[in-house]
Symmetry: C2
Subunit: 360 residues, 2 copies
């Protein structure tokens, strides 16, 4: 492009809009003044500002984002990284929604990236997503999906501020090992047990694959709640599959085979719960008449099944929003904030629980 070419030439040659210099020239002021008006900084007389605004309108001027980013050495971009998930399931869709909603409120945009690596394998060869590795690409990252804690630390060490979704962290020994946001299973779980107990249930069993950390955490919360209410925790473990539907089916089979008295099932999540209900139905057992079922997550499918599922609500959007808030605090005050943040859960009562049948 020819040096010093004027606006007309530039626009004709490439699809390039007017620049701040064109505005300045038309308004008869300096570049600095236009910049001040654009960013609402003080120190410009109303008269001059009006001239500038007029020129901006006349040219249809829009600031070039890249140039601003270069000059300010920041991008106003947040990266949402979904790790080791085949795609965005309902849960993370809602987390993303919370993140998006907070980000758009504070004028930041969202980059979406996937990240895959062996969660159990050799972590030494794991490379961060390109967008994170490129310096200056994004101001920070939210690590959602399932991550190994060492990979979160690795991203941090790259100098990119980041916040992780806590409950799916692998290898994390204590809450605040990395900056993270968690949902607390306890409040909702306690409510669920109290509710079942108040209906008269005594034999409430937990069904899941507790080799998966999130189920393990739920199970611990369940156990504590049971003990608090003077009840004996009991587990139906299906630890050799990660297919939630299969976990539900096999749990029912195992339960019926064992013949142990059971009046209610607390499922590790909603998919397991729905699968449990269907497996029970196939064996002629009706929910909640013959047995009560409680799910975990409060996903949309709770109201799409019959009976509608009583479930522990996880505030997914709030979780996402909290991740975003935390990250943006970290970005604007590096080193000033850190630790773990927690959002609460609560029970949503629907139709899948009833008083236990009078034992024959």
């Amino acid at each position: 492009m020819p040096a010093g070419s004027d606006l007309f030439l530039r626009m004709a040659w490439q699809r390039m809009g007017p620049s701040i210099a064109d505005v300045a020239k038309l308004a008869g002021v300096g570049k600095g003044t236009v910049s001040r008006v654009l960013n609402g900084r003080p120190g410009v007389s109303e008269q001059t500002a009006a001239k500038v605004r007029q020129a901006i309108r006349q040219l249809g001027y829009t600031p070039n984002v890249q140039a601003r980013r270069l000059a300010q050495n920041k991008s106003d971009l947040i990266c949402f990284v979904l790790s080791n998930r085949d795609f965005l399931h309902e849960f993370h869709s809602l987390v993303l929604k919370g993140v998006e909603s907070y980000c758009s409120k504070v004028g930041r945009d969202l980059v979406f990236a996937l990240w895959r690596y062996p969660l159990d394998g050799n972590l030494a060869s794991v490379v961060p997503p390109r967008i994170i590795a490129n310096r200056g690409s994004v101001d920070g990252a939210i690590l959602a999906g399932a991550n190994h804690i060492e990979c979160v630390k690795a991203i941090s060490k790259l100098g990119v501020p980041c916040v992780a979704f806590g409950n799916n962290l692998i290898g994390c020994t204590y809450l605040s090992e990395v900056d993270s946001v968690w949902y607390d299973e306890q409040p909702g779980t306690r409510e669920a047990i109290r509710y079942l107990a108040s209906l008269g249930h005594r034999h409430i069993r937990f069904a899941a694959n507790i080799s998966l950390p999130w189920f393990a955490r739920n199970y611990r919360a369940y156990s504590e709640a049971m003990l608090d209410f003077g009840l004996a925790p009991a587990l139906i473990a299906v630890n050799d599959t990660t297919d939630y539907v299969e976990i539900g089916e096999r749990a029912v089979q195992e339960l019926l085979d064992s013949g142990e008295p059971t009046t209610a099932i607390f499922a590790g999540n909603d998919v397991v719960a729905v699968s449990v209900i269907r497996a029970l139905a196939r064996r002629g057992l009706k929910v909640p008449r013959d047995i009560s079922v409680v799910g975990f997550d409060d996903s949309p499918r709770c109201i799409e099944c019959d009976p509608k599922l009583t479930s522990v609500h996880v505030p997914k959007e709030a979780l996402g929003a909290e991740c975003a808030r935390f990250l943006i605090e970290k970005i604007s005050a590096p080193g000033r904030v850190s630790g773990a943040r927690v959002v609460s859960t609560h029970l949503v009562v629907r139709e899948s629980c009833a008083p236990p049948r009078q034992t024959s």
Copy 2:
């Protein structure tokens, strides 16, 4: 920051990495040469290139993306816009997955944005998402979710290359009115009708709210297929609600009230289909023994319900990938490609259909 400050000062003061000038100085070459090496351009001797690579390694240099973007006037960023959807449901999650997978293959990153506007109201006051309006922010946009065709045209007129998801376009009178990617309902629908007919069904009714354009398109495909097989199309319209679950329930009620002979229901989508199955079950009718049901979309819930749902598969990932491919072609060859592209559908047979009961 002081002018001409050296690397050490810059890194100490702000968290700023080494720049291309630092690499050039260390390697004893010019900036241009370093740039040539970085971008793998010819015209650099192997000896010099080696020196440069050594210096890059020594400093741990990473190029600054923003600077590159400014100089090249492109961002390598694609925007995925989800319009008028409360969040990413399964369908669009999979479309997004297809987009992501194609983009990451060709080295582009993905920005995620939501866009809300009244689809029927006053379109004059609709403002495009900030990220699109900002010149230079993204190279192009994929408009997913439900869009009004005038809004797609408005984005185009801003000079931002874009491709829209076709099937949810409002106000679109012919396929190639804007650059778009569609799934073709016909092949899968014909397969479904042929399959039902081959089982012996003659009275197959379509259930949906056909005031919604996507259902209207499905209905048209259904009607054509029915006629082709010498059968009479019949509609159960529930046009006064957009709640899919309610559509299913009310359709069943209407069907039973009418008393018209019906041996199979072709639902507008899977959510409607599942709702139909449940509503039938509540009235003591079992699928597929008493009546057959076919869904549309082939969503995950097809295998999470009982019986597993036979459904017309929409290749959502392929659709997303095609959007991305189309857009990137538009970006690299402006004005050279345009029109509508189509991906096909096909039937996936599961458990929800059987030969019709011998009429009593």
